[in-house]
C-alpha cells in the first residue's frame, strides 16, 4: 500500500475568478476562436539547420485552388527581423537559414489541408552549409560565422579577489563540469491565434504572448504601420513558462491577414512548435571551488558556455542572470565567473522559467555537496557556514534589499518532515531499491535587473456600471494573476469580489505594465495598488461625502459601496450611485513606476531576491536505473502570500516541471535536427511520475524594514529541485551525477562497477 500525503502551512483557499469558465469550457482560448471568412495559415520552415537559399518559387503553391496568399521575405514591408533585445531573427529568411525553425515562406488558404498542401508546392533551392551543432565547436577559429559579428552572442563576467592565489591556500578543492539539457516549455497550448483585419484599417492580433505591448512594438516595426493601428489581445493562454514572450506566429498571421484582407488563423502543431519554439539554454558549466579545512569556502571559479542557438532573443539576459547567480547565496571572498553565450545551428534558446538560474544552481549546489563530502561535514552545515547574512551585498557585490531568506529557508528545510523522519529514510521496498535524501537551496532575482527597461504601471477606475475596474498590461497564462489582482484589490480597497472588474491582456484597454515575466507580476500589482489605493479611495470618499453630507472621516469603502461607521446592513451610497454622480468626471487613477533595481550599475543586477530550499527523497532501482522521487519538500521565502492556493500551485507545478528537467526531459538534437519531435519521445512528467507527497512551507516574513511586499513565485519553485534530487541519488547509490537528465544507463553502469558494489554493501 502506498501512502500519499499533502500538506502545507498555507491555509485558506480562494477560487480563481477564471475557474468556472475553465471547467465548463466557456472560456475560449485564443486558438479556439474563429471568425467569418477566416483563412488558415501555415509556415514553411527550413529543412536544413544551416543553408544558403538559392531560390524560392511559390508559383505552384499560388496556383493551387483555395490558396489565397503566399508570402516570402519580399512581402515584409518593414524590418524583416525580430528579437526582444535586438532584432536579428528573420521573419522570413532572405538568403540564408540558420536553424530548422527558420521560416522561409507562409501560406493562407481556405482550409488547413490546402495550406499544408501548398507548403509542399513551394520550391526552395538550398545549398547546405556546414552545421555547427556544438557551442564549443562554434568558438573554434575555423568555425563558419553565423552572424556578421561572429559566433559569440554575449559574454559576461564577474570577478572579486584573486581566485588563483586563493586556491593555493585551500585545503580541499572540487572541480567538476556539469551539463544541462535543452528543456522544452511544453505549454499544452501550442503557439497560435487569429489575426483579424478590422474595418477601420487596424488589425487585431489574438495570440498569446507575455507582453502585449512589446508584441505590438515588434509587429509595427515589421509591418511598417503605426503601433496605434495594432491591437494585441494576449490573454488567456494555455501555458507559457517564458516560451511565448518572444514573437512566434504573430508576424506571419499579420502579414497574411493584411495581404488577404481576411482573418487568418495559425495554430502550430506540436511538431511545428518543437521545431520553431524556444527552449531552455543547454549549458556546460565548469566550477572549481575550494575551501579551508574548517569549511570556509575561499575560492570559486566558474566557466559557463551556453548554447543560444541561431538567434539572440533574450540570450544575453539569460547569460547575465546565470553569471550573477553563480555564487548564489554564499559569501565567498574570491570569485571569478566567466560566461559566454554562443550561436549555433541548434534550436533557439531563450526565456524559460528560472532564466539561467536553474543551470548554475544545479552546478553550485553540486559543488557544495561534493565539498561537504570531501570535508566530511554535513552538507547543510557547510552551507550554513558560508551563507549570506541579511545585510550582505548581492551575489555580484551589488546593493540589494536586505534579506535573511537564505538562512530562513535552510532552517525551515532542516526542520522538515523528510529530514526528521528517520523511519521513512531507511525504508526501502526491495533490496534492489536504494533510497536517499538530498537537500539544495536557491536564490533567485526578481524583475529584469539593472539597466533593463522594466517599467510597471496600472490603472484603477470606477467605470460606468459602478464596477471598480482594475487594469494591468499583464497576461493570464495559468499562473493565477487574476486571483492575485482580485485578492489584493479586496484587501487594499476594501470592496468585495463582486464589485471588481479586472481587465488585462488587451492593448486597447490596459495601461503598460511591462512584461508578465521574471516573477514580477504579483510584485508589480501590489506596488501599483499601494500607489493607487490612497488617491482612489480619497476621491471616492470625497464624492460620497459630498452626496451624503457625512464627513469623510466617518466613511470607508466596503462591499457594494461606501459605508459609514453607523451603517450596519447596507452601504450609505453604492458604487453605482457614485459612478452615476461622477459620470462627467469619472474617477480614475493611473500609476507608472519602475521595478525596484539596485543602484549599482551591473547589467541585469537584481535588487529583490527570493529563496527556496528543497529536500527530496528518491528511490533508485539499481537493476533498471529508474529513479523515483518519493517525497519532495520545499520551503520558500518570497514575502507575504497573497493567494495561497495559487502560490502552492506555482511551487508544486514548478517542482514537477523541475523533476522532469532532472529525470526525463531533453529536446535532443543531432546535427541541428530535433530527434525528439513530439510528446511520444519528449517525455514530461505524468501523474505517475510525481512524488507521493509534497510539502510546501512559505516563509512570509520579510526582513525588518523591507517595504517591497510580496515577491512572485513563478520561478523559484523550479530552481533547487534538480540538485536536491541528484544529491539524493548520491545518497542512495554513491554516484555523483553531473549531467541531466539523469541517465538510467549511467546508473546501471555505475552500480555494476566494483567500487560501487562495495559502496552499496557498506551502505547496507
Amino acid at each position: 500500500m502506498v501512502n500519499f500525503s499533502y500538506s502545507s502551512n498555507l491555509q485558506g483557499s480562494f477560487e480563481r475568478p477564471d475557474g468556472v469558465d475553465k471547467v465548463t469550457a466557456n472560456l475560449k482560448f485564443l486558438t479556439d476562436l474563429s471568425f467569418p471568412n477566416m483563412l488558415y495559415g501555415k509556415i514553411l520552415r527550413s529543412v536544413y539547420p544551416h543553408a544558403k537559399i538559392i531560390s524560392i518559387s511559390a508559383k505552384n503553391a499560388e496556383e493551387l485552388p483555395g490558396v489565397r496568399a503566399v508570402i516570402t521575405s519580399k512581402d515584409v514591408p518593414g524590418l524583416n527581423r525580430f528579437g526582444l533585445i535586438f532584432p536579428d531573427q528573420p521573419v522570413l529568411c532572405e538568403d540564408r537559414v540558420r536553424y530548422v525553425g527558420d521560416a522561409v515562406a507562409a501560406v493562407a488558404a481556405e482550409t488547413e489541408e490546402i495550406a499544408e498542401k501548398a507548403l509542399q508546392l513551394i520550391e526552395v533551392e538550398y545549398e547546405p552549409l556546414p552545421v555547427i551543432d556544438d557551442p564549443e565547436k562554434a568558438l573554434l577559429p575555423s568555425a563558419p560565422q553565423l552572424h556578421p559579428d561572429g559566433n559569440i552572442l554575449h559574454q559576461a563576467s564577474y570577478q572579486k579577489g584573486n581566485v588563483e592565489e586563493a586556491f593555493q591556500t585551500c585545503d580541499f578543492i572540487v572541480e567538476e563540469t556539469y551539463e544541462l539539457p535543452r528543456q522544452m516549455h511544453a505549454y499544452m497550448e501550442t503557439e497560435g491565434g487569429v489575426i483579424v483585419p478590422e474595418k477601420d484599417g487596424r488589425i487585431t492580433v489574438y495570440a498569446g504572448t507575455q507582453h502585449g505591448y512589446k508584441d505590438r512594438f515588434q509587429l509595427a516595426r515589421i509591418l511598417d504601420i503605426p503601433e496605434s493601428k495594432i491591437r494585441v489581445v494576449s490573454s488567456p493562454m494555455g501555458g507559457s513558462f517564458g516560451g511565448k514572450d518572444e514573437l512566434n506566429i504573430q508576424p506571419y498571421g499579420a502579414l497574411l491577414a493584411i495581404k488577404t484582407g481576411c482573418p487568418v488563423k495559425i495554430h502550430q502543431s506540436r511538431r511545428e512548435s518543437v521545431r520553431s519554439g524556444l527552449k531552455r539554454h543547454p549549458m556546460k558549466i565548469t566550477m572549481k571551488t575550494g575551501a579551508s579545512r574548517s569549511g570556509k569556502i575561499l575560492a570559486h571559479q566558474v566557466r559557463i558556455i551556453a548554447d543560444t542557438g541561431a538567434y539572440a532573443t533574450l540570450g544575453p539576459a539569460v547569460l547575465d542572470f546565470a553569471v550573477e547567480h553563480a555564487a548564489g547565496p554564499y559569501i565567498i571572498r574570491n570569485v571569478h565567473v566567466e560566461g559566454v553565450s554562443v550561436y549555433t545551428n541548434n534550436g533557439v534558446a531563450g526565456e524559460f522559467r528560472g532564466f539561467g538560474g536553474n543551470q548554475v544552481t544545479f552546478a553550485l549546489e553540486g559543488q557544495m555537496d561534493r565539498l561537504a563530502a570531501k570535508l566530511g561535514i554535513c552538507p547543510m552545515e557547510l552551507r550554513k557556514r558560508n551563507l549570506r547574512k541579511a545585510d550582505d551585498p548581492g551575489p555580484v557585490g551589488q546593493e540589494i534589499a536586505p534579506t535573511d531568506g537564505a538562512a530562513q529557508v535552510l532552517k525551515a528545510i532542516s526542520q522538515s518532515l523528510l529530514l526528521n523522519n528517520k523511519e521513512k529514510r531507511e525504508e526501502s521496498t526491495s533490496q534492489w531499491k536504494k533510497t536517499g535524501i538530498g537537500v539544495a537551496i536557491a536564490m533567485h532575482g526578481g524583475g529584469l535587473g539593472f539597466g533593463r527597461l522594466d517599467p510597471a504601471g496600472g490603472r484603477i477606475s470606477l467605470n460606468e456600471e459602478g464596477k471598480i475596474e482594475i487594469s494591468f498590461g499583464f497576461e493570464e497564462f495559468g499562473q493565477g494573476l487574476l486571483s492575485v489582482i482580485e485578492q489584493l484589490a479586496i484587501k487594499e480597497i476594501g470592496c468585495s469580489s463582486n464589485d471588481i472588474k479586472i481587465t488585462i491582456g488587451d492593448t486597447d484597454c490596459v495601461p503598460s505594465s511591462g512584461s508578465s515575466t521574471a516573477s514580477r507580476g504579483t510584485s508589480m500589482v501590489w506596488h501599483a495598488l499601494q500607489r493607487m489605493k490612497g488617491p482612489f479611495k480619497k476621491r471616492l470618499l470625497e464624492k460620497a461625502s459630498q452626496c451624503t453630507g457625512v464627513p469623510v472621516d466617518q466613511l470607508y469603502l466596503g462591499p457594494s459601496g461606501i459605508w459609514s461607521c453607523e451603517s450596519k446592513t447596507e452601504p450609505l451610497i453604492t458604487y453605482q450611485q457614485i459612478a452615476y454622480e461622477t459620470k462627467d468626471d469619472p474617477i480614475q487613477i493611473e500609476t507608472e513606476f519602475h521595478f525596484p533595481t539596485t543602484p549599482h550599475s551591473i547589467p541585469g543586477g537584481h535588487y529583490l531576491y527570493s529563496f527556496a530550499a528543497c529536500a527530496a527523497r528518491v528511490e533508485v532501482d539499481v537493476l533498471t536505473g529508474i529513479v523515483r522521487v518519493k517525497n519532495l519538500e520545499q520551503s520558500v521565502a518570497a514575502g507575504p502570500v497573497i493567494y495561497p492556493t495559487g502560490y502552492l500551485g506555482q511551487i508544486e507545478g514548478g517542482s514537477v516541471m523541475a523533476l522532469g528537467y532532472t529525470l526525463l526531459e531533453e529536446a535532443l538534437m543531432e546535427k541541428g535536427k530535433y530527434v525528439t519531435e513530439n510528446f511520444d519521445s519528449y517525455l514530461i512528467p505524468t501523474i505517475n511520475d510525481i512524488p507521493l507527497s509534497m510539502n510546501i512551507t512559505a516563509i512570509e516574513d520579510l526582513y525588518e524594514g523591507d517595504e517591497y511586499g510580496p515577491r512572485g513565485v513563478g520561478e523559484i519553485g523550479t530552481v533547487a529541485v534538480a540538485p536536491a534530487i541528484v544529491k539524493a541519488i548520491y545518497d542512495a547509490i554513491g554516484l555523483w551525477v553531473t549531467k541531466l537528465p539523469v541517465s538510467r544507463e549511467e546508473i546501471v553502469k555505475a552500480v555494476n562497477q566494483r567500487e560501487m558494489k562495495e559502496w552499496l554493501t557498506t551502505k547496507l
Binding site: 477564471d18 469550457a25 506540436r270
Partner: protein, 171 residues
C-alpha cells in the same frame, strides 16, 4: 461522407471528409472547443471525450468512426446551470491553472468515476496517467477527483435515503 452522430444528447448529421479527426469535427464543425489539441501523437489527453461511454482521445478517432455513436464532451458536464461535482471540485481544489488540459482531465476523471466511483489514490493516478498537465504538478487534480468522488457518493446516499423515506421507487 455522411455521418449521424449523437453529441451531448443532440443528433447531428454532417458531411465530413474521410480524414477528418473527431476532435476537429467537434471543434470546427460543431464549435465545441472544449476538447483541445496538445499533440499529434495520442500522448497528452487534452482532447479526451467520452465515446459510447468510454474515455477516448478524440485525436485518434476519425469523425466517420463516430457514425451511429454517442459522444459526450465537457460542454455537457454541467446540467441546467448546475456544475458537475467534478467541475466544482476542479475549481475549488485549484486543480487547474491554465486550464488547457482541464476538459480532457475532467472527461478522463468522469469515465474513471463511472467505472469506479470510489477509486483509491493509486487508481486515480492510473486512470489519469494518459493525461498530461504541465502547470499544476497534478497534486490538486488527485485531490479534486477524490473530493468529487466523495461528494457524488454522498449525493447518491442522500437520494437513496430520500427514496427510502418517501417510499417511492425509481425505475
Amino acid at each position: 461522407m455522411k455521418i449521424r452522430v449523437k453529441v451531448n444528447g443532440h443528433l447531428f448529421e454532417s458531411d465530413v471528409e474521410p480524414r477528418t479527426l473527431l476532435v476537429y469535427y467537434l471543434r470546427d464543425e460543431l464549435k465545441l472547443t472544449g476538447a483541445h489539441v496538445g499533440c499529434d501523437t495520442t500522448s497528452c489527453g487534452a482532447c479526451t471525450v467520452l465515446f459510447d461511454g468510454k474515455a477516448v482521445k478524440s485525436c485518434t478517432v476519425l469523425a466517420v468512426q463516430a457514425n451511429g455513436r454517442e459522444v459526450l464532451t465537457v460542454e455537457a458536464l454541467d446540467q441546467e446551470g448546475q456544475m458537475h461535482p467534478l467541475q466544482t471540485a476542479f475549481w475549488e481544489d485549484h486543480a487547474l491553472q491554465c486550464g488547457y488540459c482541464t476538459p480532457g482531465m475532467l472527461m478522463a476523471s468522469y469515465a474513471l468515476l463511472q467505472k469506479n466511483p470510489m477509486p483509491t489514490e493509486e487508481e486515480i493516478r492510473e486512470g489519469l496517467s494518459g493525461n498530461i498537465c504541465r502547470c499544476t504538478g497534478y497534486m490538486n487534480i488527485v485531490k479534486a477527483v477524490q473530493s468529487a468522488s466523495r461528494k457524488m457518493a454522498n449525493e447518491t446516499q442522500e437520494s437513496l435515503e430520500e427514496v427510502a423515506t418517501s417510499g417511492t421507487s425509481t425505475e
